[in-house]
Symmetry: C3
Subunit: 130 residues, 3 copies
């Protein structure tokens, strides 16, 4: 298992971690297989989406904020219930395919760490051990 | 593949199944690797989130109910369309990392079975066979 | 890795690809294990849900459209931001269990390719190589 650190800078943020995942594939000398990209946090998530236009992650974060508003009669006293909900909607992990030592992503796909309750220093685990 | 049974008690409910998954890891003598926690139902889901404060799962269930209301001109005649939608949003499975015979979860992470159309007797499959 | 092609016919559509995934299991002679069903697109997704009543996928697509409307002050200029959001909510992949050469799905479970910005010709990757 490789661990990477992600520093977030805003309450809501999507950070492209594709290069770090590709580096883990290279460091672990994975020729082909499947990798798990997993975050151990409950107010964050991992997703795959487009990064060619930075407006795509911005629109995703805004749409999530509309569907799950920050304030909505939540009972959890820490004030970050919306972040917990988004974490379960987007999900703690993604699976990626590796061939010839490289991630097999679609043309427009990047792997993102999603921050829903930042800014914080966060962790992502990458495992190829099945 | 290990199968566990989950008895739910309400229409909407999140039940912490972390101990049962950890027991499966032990029973199968998995030293390190990755496990799949999967539910074979279409009105339920598996997610990872916080259980330290029971208000977190309550807030998640309430937020899902607001985003996907029980009544909304659905066509499916069984009256549980919202449960099907939530099942696809939260997802049928989660992947977990195992090291030294133990689940590698974040400090606040628990594995939950999510009931969206209970109460029912439900199943969860746990597989380490990749 | 097996690649299958999916032709979609509408802006929003869920297409049952269970038979194609089962065929890949057979073609690859997978006796038991886990399979990854993955789409390399950022305005599509893979999910598992009920197909016995075709109103279930219709209700899911309609509920997603209500939760993430097509028009909502998006910044991404291509007009398909809602599709990107739905892709991250439903997710790019699903994991399935295989035993005795067959998919272990629940009674009501089918595997669906979800089109959120069609019609298009799309791809799905199926990998058993862990």
């Amino acid at each position: 298992m490789k661990e990477i650190s992600v520093q977030t800078h805003a309450r809501f943020e999507m950070i492209d971690i594709t290069a770090a995942v590709q580096k883990a594939v290279r460091d672990e000398k994975i020729e082909s297989g499947i990798g798990l990209v997993y975050t151990p946090h409950t107010t964050a998530a991992v997703t795959i989406n487009e990064n060619a236009d930075p407006d795509v992650p911005r629109d995703i974060l805004a749409a999530l904020d509309r569907a799950v508003p920050l304030s909505a009669n939540y009972r959890h006293a820490e004030g970050n219930s919306a972040a917990h909900v988004k974490s379960s909607l987007v999900g703690a992990s993604e699976m990626v395919i590796i061939e010839n030592g490289r991630l097999i992503l679609g043309t427009w796909q990047s792997i993102f760490f999603c921050e829903f309750d930042g800014p914080r220093t966060r962790k992502v685990y990458i495992s190829f051990k099945f």
